[in-house]
């Protein structure tokens, strides 16, 4: 647990985590204005065609993260986890809304992203992002260990039970990440209108979120074990 906590301390200063939060916030802000959506995405480093669908958007997001971390020589495992969590959260929250609509229509993905630009919408996006980040973080520490416990006399009877455990871990981190949801919307609304969301403010927000998450996991761990 100590190592995992030390890791979270290191993650607070991670450029990849801060950039992922920064991009998620600004992509949602960009979606508020249809006429400048593409241009604003380009300014963030996301190159998308004129009528982007969810796949255009997440592909561009992933490439923009890769490029930024390569150019700033700041690639770390935290950054990889943040990049994957951001892509997965965007896919999960915008994909189902736009999947059944005409692919040639630009509105689906922009509208779906726009829905995430409200106080409540961004709270949901942040909740999903940090849930996934924490699930990846915990599984990162556990993954090699867990496979040793599959089989007879073991925690997991077969690979399916192992997969179910990973699902439950997702539920666990999703519940813990509610603590982030509670204030993410407020931070987003306040920052957006008062000072703008800068990289330093995104970094500070991400660091604070990790502190809250760490404390929440500690409390939940203690409570459930007791």
């Amino acid at each position: 647990m100590e190592a995992a906590q030390r890791g979270l301390e290191a993650a607070k200063a991670d450029e990849g985590l801060a950039h992922a939060v920064y991009l998620l916030a600004h992509v949602t802000i960009a979606a508020r204005d249809e006429s400048t959506f593409i241009q604003q995405l380009a300014e963030l480093g996301l190159q998308v065609p004129a009528n982007p669908n969810v796949y255009d958007l997440v592909g561009a997001m992933s490439d923009a993260m890769d490029r930024h971390l390569r150019d700033t020589r700041s690639r770390t495992d935290f950054g990889e986890m943040a990049q994957l969590a951001a892509v997965e959260a965007l896919s999960a929250l915008t994909g189902p809304k736009s999947e059944n609509l005409w692919e040639s229509d630009a509105a689906p993905v922009r509208q779906a992203v726009r829905d995430l630009s409200t106080k409540e919408g961004f709270a949901g996006l942040t909740h999903d992002f940090f849930s996934r980040f924490m699930q990846r973080y915990l599984t990162y520490h556990l993954s090699r260990e867990l496979s040793q416990h599959v089989g007879p006399n073991q925690r997991f009877r077969d690979p399916s039970e192992h997969s179910e455990f990973l699902e439950r871990l997702g539920v666990h981190t999703r519940q813990a990440a509610l603590i982030v949801r509670d204030y993410a919307g407020g931070w987003y609304s306040k920052s957006k209108y008062e000072t703008g969301i800068s990289k330093p403010s995104a970094r500070k927000f991400a660091a604070y979120s990790l502190t809250k998450l760490r404390d929440e996991l500690k409390i939940r761990g203690a409570r459930d074990v007791v």
């Binding site: 647990m1 995992a4 890791g7 290191a10 993650a11 669908n53 969810v54 796949y55 255009d56 997440v58 992933s62 490439d63 020589r73 700041s74 690639r75 770390t76 935290f78 990889e80 994957l84 892509v87 997965e88 959260a89 896919s91 999960a92 994909g95 973080y137 915990l138 599984t139 990162y140 520490h141 556990l142 993954s143 090699r144 260990e145 496979s147 416990h149 599959v150 089989g151 007879p152 006399n153 925690r155 009877r157 077969d158 690979p159 399916s160 192992h162 997969s163 455990f165 439950r168 871990l169 539920v171 666990h172 999703r174 519940q175 509610l178 996991l217 939940r220 409570r223 459930d224 074990v225």
Partner: protein, 608 residues
């Protein structure tokens, strides 16, 4: 966060360097034949191919050789865990004399070079090119053939490792397409080179002159024994691509092809620890697109690097080989990664990831003993008892991940669980939506093929399973959860050393609640495996009251009495409280339960 290393190539000296680099002891590399040297020889070319060698092509060969050597000469820091990649990633400062330093220093070349190398290896590269004082002639690296197939009329250039996939590609090009092809093989050791030659000879014999004989070029690029330290070799496909691209340009061609099944090309990580390039990206769509971009810049003409098998599984490829009558030749292909350990009796170890995949595919494609002889594997995939932790993870997750793939329903669900897929969406030659759909279909098909094979194998080995003759820590034992005599224990919770085990400990001991339960001690609502902390709130009191009589409608009068302490509140207040409770349960992913307001002025909690 990466370790810094200075590489001095071909007698280069330190150029003006600042900061931390001055403190670092350099690693010196040279091309030659000694134990400390990088060895580079291109065999079986024709004289006509080397008539007009360009300086840039010769430089590219040497750059590839030095990158390959540097990759192996500098260790990544072992398998230390929980260092978050700081030991895995390296930062190279490479001093490299070339014939055309200005050309290579141009950002139009350096940019794509760094980009593709970083994606492949997770390492940062800084190149400093200087003028080479005594350049070697290209001929000094070449051996010329004295007979056999000539290089005229070659239509395409493809990489040929001698494994199943590249053999499938050669058959597709030569036997099906009736095309004259240059097969370019990297020969790291003679143990690899000899089987490659034998396979080409066997293919020619099988074809019996019905198709153009291939032009086979073997390139010996390896390092002296004193240099080899790092086994991961993430830049190896950069070397293969450079060698093939130079051969292609010698033949006047602007395209090279890798033939590799899509599952290996995407190489989605089986374990969460396999972040970044720890899951190798040898023929990942972004890698091949990066090579194309680099060679286009270097050769100043459109140059493409393709993988025609990107949307095929290995099982698809093997089935096509069988259908075409090439099944028995598959026995001469070699897929094993541990070539240096192999013997004539056992050409495959049976335990590396390539062997696990090959053997499973052989079962899926129903290859017979003449096509994939079981005895050529030192370890039997199905009944070998796995003991090393990394091997257990490989096998257990191979089975588990394929089960997960099979359960996926849509491309966005795939993308929202495997974010790595996004790294290919803009690099596979089609629009991202089509690529996402194709990748989803590919992985689902692979999962179905593997799962189907497992079911069939379990059926055929039922007797052994019934008689406890199959080791419980074998793939078969793991796959079906063979139960021994000892009681099942919660191992994850007993491992005090595991740093995140404590964080996940609640899961190891997680209780399943068959009935909705509101715990007034913790203000938490439980149902199934889910829990939702509601705090000391009206929502908690409503949940607590409803949970007392699951399935029974409670009137709002009774609710006012029990939840609002007898105060009269608006119907709307109760409705809003119920709505808040539903939202909180949903956010906490407490599923299988609903707050039902379906009867006028009544509410109940009900399993859904």
């Amino acid at each position: 966060m990466s370790s810094k290393h200075v590489i001095l190539c071909g007698g280069a000296t330190l150029s003006a360097r600042g900061g931390d680099w001055k403190q670092i002891a350099p690693v010196s590399l040279a091309i030659g034949d000694g134990v400390h040297d990088v060895h580079l020889h291109l065999h079986d070319l024709t004289k006509s191919m080397s008539e007009n060698p360009s300086d840039v092509a010769t430089d590219l060969l040497e750059i590839a050789a030095f990158v390959y050597a540097a990759d192996q000469a500098v260790r990544r820091g072992g398998k230390s865990e929980f260092e978050y990649g700081s030991k895995w990633r390296r930062h190279f400062w490479i001093e490299l004399p070339v014939r055309q330093p200005q050309f290579w220093a141009d950002e139009k070349i350096q940019g794509p070079l760094r980009e593709v190398l970083t994606f492949l290896s997770d390492d940062d590269f800084e190149f400093h090119f200087t003028k080479l004082k005594k350049p070697q002639k290209l001929d000094s690296y070449l051996d010329f053939r004295t007979g056999g197939v000539d290089s005229s009329g070659i239509e395409d250039v493809m990489l040929f490792s001698g494994g199943l996939d590249s053999f499938g590609g050669a058959v597709k090009e030569i036997a099906d397409g009736k095309r004259k092809i240059a097969l370019v093989s990297h020969q790291p050791t003679t143990k690899v080179g000899a089987p490659q030659r034998k396979l080409v000879e066997a293919l020619n014999k099988h074809l019996g002159g019905t198709a153009p004989a291939p032009f086979h070029v073997q390139i010996e690029l390896n390092k002296g024994k004193a240099l080899g330290r790092e086994y991961t070799q993430r830049t190896r496909s950069f070397v293969y691509a450079c060698l093939a691209a130079v051969v292609a340009r010698m033949l006047g061609k602007n395209r090279i092809r890798f033939y590799e099944n899509g599952i290996v090309s995407f190489n989605l990580p089986l374990s969460m620890q396999s972040l970044g390039a720890r899951a190798s990206r040898t023929t990942h769509p972004q890698t091949l697109a990066g090579f194309g971009k680099l060679f286009t810049a270097i050769f100043d003409r459109p140059f493409t690097v393709e993988n025609p098998f990107l949307w095929k599984t290995k099982t698809d490829i093997v089935r096509e080989l069988k259908t075409g009558g090439f099944g028995k030749l598959c026995a001469a292909t070699i897929s094993c990664a541990h070539t240096w350990e192999r013997t004539n009796q056992h050409t495959h170890c049976g335990t590396c990831s390539q062997c696990v995949d090959r053997r499973m595919v052989a079962l899926a494609a129903e290859m017979g003993p003449e096509e994939d002889p079981p005895e050529m594997y030192e370890a039997d995939l199905l009944e070998h008892a796995w003991t090393k932790p990394e091997d257990c993870t490989l096998v257990e997750r191979y089975v588990g991940t394929n089960k997960e793939f099979a359960a996926l329903k849509t491309p966005t669900e795939f993308l929202s669980k495997y974010g790595d897929v996004a790294k290919a969406l803009r690099h596979a030659g089609n629009d991202p939506k089509t690529i996402a759909q194709s990748a989803f279909d590919l992985h689902r098909r692979h999962a179905e093929q593997v799962n189907h094979a497992l079911v069939r194998v379990i059926q055929t080995r039922a007797q052994g399973l019934l008689n406890n003759k199959v080791p419980t820590n074998s793939l078969l034992g793991i796959a079906i959860g063979l139960v021994g005599n000892a009681p099942v224990v919660a191992a994850a919770s007993t491992n005090a050393q595991s740093p995140a085990a404590a964080a996940a400990a609640p899961l190891a001991n997680q209780t399943h609640y068959g009935k909705p339960t509101a715990d007034a001690g913790t203000f938490t609502f439980y149902y199934g495996y889910g829990s939702c902390f509601l705090g000391n709130s009206v929502e908690f009191r409503l949940a607590e009251r409803l949970a007392k009589s699951p399935g029974v409608f409670i009137g709002i009068g009774k609710l006012m009495e029990d939840v609002w302490d007898g105060r009269t509140v608006q119907k709307n207040t109760i409705a809003k409280t119920a709505c808040n409770l539903r939202r909180k349960l949903k956010d906490a992913t407490v599923t299988g339960i609903t707050i039902d307001g379906g009867e006028k002025d009544h509410y109940r909690i009900q399993a859904s």
